[in-house]
Symmetry: C2
Amino acid sequence: MNISNYIKGICEKAQQAAEILAIATTEEKNEALTRISESIQSSARKILDANEKDLGEASKDKLDPAMIDRLTLTQNTIEGIVEGIQEIVKLDDPVGTIGPMQTRPSGITVAQMRVPIGIIGIIYESRPNVTADAASLCLKSGNVVILRGGSESFYSNQAIEKCIIEGLSKTGIPSTAVQLIATTSRTAVGELLTRKEEVDLIIPRGGKGLITRVSKESKIPVLKHLDGICHVYIDKEADHSKAINIAENAKTQRYGTCNTMETLIIHSDCAPVILPKLLKIFTGHKVEVRGDKKAKVIIPTIKLASKKDWETEYLGPVLSIAVVDSVEDAIMHISKYGSKHTDSIVTENDKTAKKFLRQVDSSSVMLNASTRFADGYEYGLGAEIGISTDKLHARGPVGLQGLTSLKWIVYGDGHIRT
Amino acid sequence: MNISNYIKGICEKAQQAAEILAIATTEEKNEALTRISESIQSSARKILDANEKDLGEASKDKLDPAMIDRLTLTQNTIEGIVEGIQEIVKLDDPVGTIGPMQTRPSGITVAQMRVPIGIIGIIYESRPNVTADAASLCLKSGNVVILRGGSESFYSNQAIEKCIIEGLSKTGIPSTAVQLIATTSRTAVGELLTRKEEVDLIIPRGGKGLITRVSKESKIPVLKHLDGICHVYIDKEADHSKAINIAENAKTQRYGTCNTMETLIIHSDCAPVILPKLLKIFTGHKVEVRGDKKAKVIIPTIKLASKKDWETEYLGPVLSIAVVDSVEDAIMHISKYGSKHTDSIVTENDKTAKKFLRQVDSSSVMLNASTRFADGYEYGLGAEIGISTDKLHARGPVGLQGLTSLKWIVYGDGHIRT
């Protein structure tokens, strides 16, 4: 197979499909999603068989357990995929909605209409459910999608894509509205990243290696989620019990997620009271605690944290603690070491809270809440295609609206410019 | 001078300034803008002297008259710059505004806050007034700006920058919030385009050569305005007098602007009546008319248009005419040859209008109005930093809001995720 021609062909088919999908009605898109969910439901056995095949290869290739866990599909996860699609059917369609109209002194009336972005390329690893999730979100928002899954989920992804095509074939939406790149060749990704004439946006989902490579190579704008080095800052005016609960939840509810706390910052006034209690809790969870010199004075058994600790997304049961003397110092630490993902302050002081919410330049900034809430479902987006740590177009959890853009609509009645 | 170190130094100073500017109050920013406008007003003589120096070089270098025209400053244009800044003072500050709040089933309350993008690099040609305009828009929206003007306006730009620094030095906003790259070395642009750790967005303003080069080289997201191949489609149900006025205005009000009509599309039903009238009008304006075979049958004196004509932004007194048999064919022509800038339909039929407004994938789509209205001032943005033909982040005229982004704000009261 000539990879370059193959990718070119996919992109050209995507372009044709995009013109039709962009103007499909909400009913047509919901019909398509329903057909897809039915097809996935009735093909559960085939998808699980394909997944077995991937799992067999994975154990031959000695993939690490975390990756195998992400790769594994069960009857339950397939039910989850089906329910997820049904949820997307229920979401409001942003496409075609028109914002407030404003009549200008010239007499023209101006408004903005939500429109799909066009063609989106999604490059992802391991989790085969992304194939269905991403396709559904793109479809509902009127975007054609080109999917490129990881080689480890090659058969699972193809089985799911087959269901999507089968579902679409029963509707007026072209089945090329969702295309899976059916080769494990790495060159295919490189080729896709050059097709800026057709593809409007690339969304990589996976480990840092993948995201760094895609960002570096892409000639197409990339909406990416890089690191999640999230902080909780316990202020001197924090409610101690809220602070302890939030710190425990933010660190231990799940270790491997991007919105998990990696560094706890605490004011020196309350550190002597709170830190010993937290150490006990974290030790109970088998979380390794590290800290700066001031933290180590209060809880001497911990390991001294290095600069590298502040910059690390552990994605595991490790936590670093910094003791500061003011909210300004906390903000400075976050600005220096954070990844602009999610940061939370615990305080009862309104003024301090406002300062933190305004000044911390992260995609989500929270008051008296666990960083674990940074999530499209929790925010009411219905679903998310990812969490953006970029600053343009969309920050934080990206749902249907983040997959659209706004064009200007002008109504005149023979108006000319003078 | 080591260019690489020089640009690095500028970017680092910009980063320090960005943290302060991002949280400056509206009053502080307006105060800064007022001081800058006063400084420009009182230094008019010095700016004009510097401009004389640029014009002297330009005539030595035999720059073309259009470029010299764009380069030339007068007492009047300086008054215009001053008034422009005063207008920006009056505009609402988008930064820090919080959208609708939504309380979620978990109990957290979620909203979005407008925040500056951060550091913006603007690379522009000839017009020295961009130095003041762009700096003012960025300041008001809380963004630090790095300016790189054309070598032909080297002295003018520096004179204006001096006024900006003088103005800022009287306020609490660091004078490094606006920095002009003070070298004509082309390497400097290349260096700036690699500083993705500091610079969040690049906006090129100028000819196609500049924009293509910047897009190609930049490692930083680019918000660009490429071509303006704008269409007016006269439908079979158009009001003839509106159609003729709009076509005349869209083509002849100004030739060199991006929102000028380059191709007229007309329905075959009304072409025989309207085209002869339009030919007379355009001939009166000394506009050269070209057309497809069907147009030539109706107005045989015109030149036959080639494929190249449909793809060309003339930026001058030339117009191509295509005759079609349906609104669908008009939309297809625009989709094939347009540049996603601005396209207008003239029709009295609501259904046809809606179809066109919905289906044409351009940054501005108009009904019964001249394409010349596609402009930040006309849309009520107060001012514009440019017109984006990109599809992400901002489409069409970009004002203060387009220079901001949204971060999520979450309010809890000790909420944790379960």
